[in-house]
């Protein structure tokens, strides 16, 4: 698997994401936000967590208009695999690649802890390594993770089986307990919790490792 990790000023989970990919056997390229094109031959792109451009204007808004994001949107439109974690999820909603908006947490506080999630669908390259309904623990660390979608969009996400993860105990106010969503073609995942921070016993848990190994299995040349 050849994976790319986009790096913005203010990204702070880029190295964690690279290590998670490498643990799954990937060759990783770090990609600077000012680049206008992606390295050739990538199997998956990761947009990491952090506070790109200081969260100015809206979380992810400036990053979503950066030169590399135009290339990422084109890549996703061509059917490429993309995962956006935390700030990466916010960036994907700002580009319109994923629907909905991440708003300020309902309790207004920054939440930094490990949370329980259920795997809501196993029908994606990212979640096929889990059992349907399986409970997993991933850390969250965000101030703006309150997923907001209008009733039509929520109905569509549910009927198309595009909710990837749900919070067991909804701490940020997200509609329908949604922690992660898939694109229509199921090849783009955005989620607020951090699977890349749960891939080593020293992290306190390894529940995230199955996401990266499942992805690597899909990308394995037949």
């Amino acid at each position: 698997m050849r994976a790319g990790v986009i790096v913005f000023p203010g990204s702070n989970c880029d190295r964690d994401l690279a290590v998670a990919y490498q643990r799954a056997g990937a060759h990783v390229s770090m990609i600077w936000h000012k680049d206008t094109s992606l390295p050739v031959g990538l199997d998956v792109i990761g947009i990491p967590g952090g506070f790109s451009f200081g969260d100015y204007l809206r979380c992810g808004a400036i990053a979503a208009r950066s030169p590399i994001c135009r290339a990422v949107v084109d890549y996703a439109d061509r059917g490429g695999y993309v995962i956006g974690i935390c700030n990466g999820f916010q960036i994907l909603t700002e580009t319109g690649v994923l629907p909905g908006v991440l708003m300020r947490n309902a309790g207004l506080k920054f939440i930094c802890k490990s949370v329980g999630l259920t795997v809501a669908t196993t029908d994606s390259a990212f979640t096929s390594g889990y059992q349907a309904g399986q409970a997993v623990q991933y850390p969250v660390a965000h101030h703006d993770g309150n997923y907001n979608a209008d009733p039509d969009l929520l109905a569509r996400l549910n009927s198309e089986d595009r909710v990837a993860f749900r919070y067991i105990d909804n701490t940020n106010g997200s509609n329908d307990d949604i922690a992660g969503v898939l694109s229509k073609n199921r090849r783009v995942l955005g989620l607020m919790p951090h699977p890349e921070r749960a891939v080593d016993a020293a992290h306190g848990g390894t529940d995230g490792a199955a996401l990266f190994s499942a992805l690597a299995a899909v990308m394995q040349p037949a």
Binding site: L57, R58, A61, R65, E94, G100, V101, M103, R104, N105, A106, G107, L108, N146, N148, G173
Partner: protein
């Protein structure tokens, strides 16, 4: 030409920050505030001198960057 862009959450979108401000006003003794909505104002100085063209430009800026029109509405004023 100067433009001010007023950005607000659309009606029906929960504004937790506005709610927190409302509670704080109540605890300071300001009674009778039934609702608080918080938004932002962005001031732009433009080289364009034609108001219609400037307005079209600013609206495009709002749609492309300044507002997230999924949840926010905007109003443009020229001074």
């Amino acid at each position: 030409m100067k433009a001010s862009v007023h950005i607000m959450l659309k009606q029906g979108v929960l504004d937790p920050q506005g709610e927190a401000v409302r509670h704080a006003l109540g605890s300071l003794g300001f009674e009778g505030v039934s609702r608080v909505r918080q938004g932002k104002v962005i001031e732009l100085e433009l080289a364009e001198t034609d108001k219609a063209k400037a307005e079209a430009q600013v609206r495009e800026m709002c749609d492309k960057l300044l507002a997230n029109t999924v949840i926010e509405s905007y109003r443009v004023e020229f001074t």
